[in-house]
Amino acid sequence: MSAELAVIAVDCGALPIGGGLLALLRPALNELEAGGMLAVLSSAPTVREDLPSWCRAERHEYLGVETIADGIDRHLIARGEFSVPPATDETRGRLEPRDGKLTASDVLAIAPLPEIGDPATGFAPRGAKVEPAGPAYPFTLNERTHVAPPEIAKLYDQAVANQWDATSDIPWHKVEPLPFPAARALAQVMTFLAENELSALYVPARFIPRIHPVYAEVAMFLATQLADEARHIDVFLKRARLCGVGLGISSVTTSRSLLSLMQTEDFTEAAFLLSVLGEGTFLDLLSFIERHAPDQPTAELVRRAKNDESRHVHFGLAHVRYGLMNDPGLYDRLEAAVRKRAASLHGISGVPAPVHDALTILAAGSTEPHAVARGYEAFRELLETMHTSRIRRLEHAGFTPQQAVTISELHTPNFM
């Protein structure tokens, strides 16, 4: 035996196998390739008996022992082939704070997203040294181009920095009682918003378990989106119940529209229908409600919700744009998804009547006929604005103007 061949030596003092020696030995062995040699210095006589047995149990090769000084043994071990793989360079990046902060973008810079997620790495964090032969996990979103746009870390950082509290961030004490028709209209609008936001909570939630954990930032962003939607549901229902007239009507039009969203099985199609088209349209709706809000707390909560929704639209757009860039066939699939959904909603010709009426009264600010006429006109303009914004967003995503018009016209009259 030649100790000169050993690359690493570890001094284990008088530690026995069952008293801490392995905590020094095993990490040292993990630094070696299979066949690499480790010298173990020990003054414990029991290690002479136990180290060869431990090596046998773990399939490392015990090469022998020699006494190098009074009472000090040097054991030599060759690392076996049946253990965790050694670290690779790409997993060793060191994170450095910038201005005292660490962002998800900083993490992404030293631990980039791989093109493909290996089902056998399971929940191992990206960059972990994964022991081979783990079970294959049933993740289905395993390709970066279908899951993780480059903007994801930035969007996640923004989302985390902009969380707010539906309990105390709204000046609830400033809410004043409204006349009955206005209260009924506002309760209806808030009921409608909450119903749609419930679908926006459930639809992305379905995809999180399908996302390969090497794209954890996407799942984490969606988690913030879910938290956003939860807060919106909370805040909209609180505002509705402050009206004191009960909740509004849930119409079959809305129910059918949201069910068709729930039934979309493809992540990109769902992101397109929900975030780009649905939440995109909601941005204009929320601006409209903010503008016509009867009081400051209502304007405030709608404004905050709109900021959150705007992030969701950004993610949806980034997701779809990244997919389209890498897969030109996606244009046709997305248009087909919109057509399929429109076909399933055949017979629904307009905005649910209770919502139509409530938005008109909200914009009118009273039930005086001239005001209602203005409210009705504002509502018609809203529909125009929604259509125009959708076309702009679709063109921004890379659709031709003609495709954009077609898709926008086919969008559900339920807004979401």
Binding site: P16, I17, G18, G19, L22, T46, E49, D50, P52, S53, W54, R56, A57, R59, F82, A120, P132, A133, G134, P135, A136
Partner: protein
Amino acid sequence: MSDNQTILLGAVAYDPKVVTIWEGIREHFQEQGVPMDFALFSNYERQVEELLKGHIDVAWNTPLAHVRVRRRTGNESLSLGMRDSDRDFHAKLIVRRDSGIKSLKDLEGKTLAVGSADSTQARILPLYFLASEGVDLSRVKLLPFDTDLGKHGDTGTSEIDVLKALHERRADAGTAGDLVWVNEQAAGHIDSNNIEVLWTTPGFDHCMFDALPSLAAEKTESFKRALFAMKWDNPHHRKLLELEGLREWLPPRESGYASLQDALLQTGRE
């Protein structure tokens, strides 16, 4: 699966996991195009008799069962394969640090906890090797743990009992197989302040797949082919290999059973 093509393997059901192991290995054999089924016995004595009668094709045997098959077939039996962990098995002599036992001779007059009467690693061979080293066993007070007789020490229960007796000061020394001893230490179950290893026996080999010489050559070959196709880096195989306590199947060798054969002759057990 009662046709003549199917290899019928016998195994002893020493633990519920045995069903999982052989269901999994049967599935692997089927994927390899090798029809195989298994029969579970409650003890190795019955399994050996059924092999010798030709009721099963292959028996997954402990060393004690293996040497019995060798003897009963005049060393004509076929050995088909073994685990990597079956090679170079050792037994350990473990002592209480306050027992005053510093050498093997010091065992005389002390209490020695030992495993089941049919456990090769926890009883038969450690006592045989101690006697070979000159220890007068008639002067050692044995504290035996005869649990799971018929299972030939497969459960490891008696080895755990030995270690427990040492921790509880019911014995001054004890014997156990090397794998149980190091695995219990690695798991943090051993109080190194109170008990430690004193001595390691010479090596011996452990389990073996046994068959009668009359086993059809195609069955012998297909059994070995399918067995050795199991790989540690295959997730489905690895789960089974971990349960069965090995990383790879190895070809058979007979050189590791001489001490056990001799021990059984000396004690008149076989």
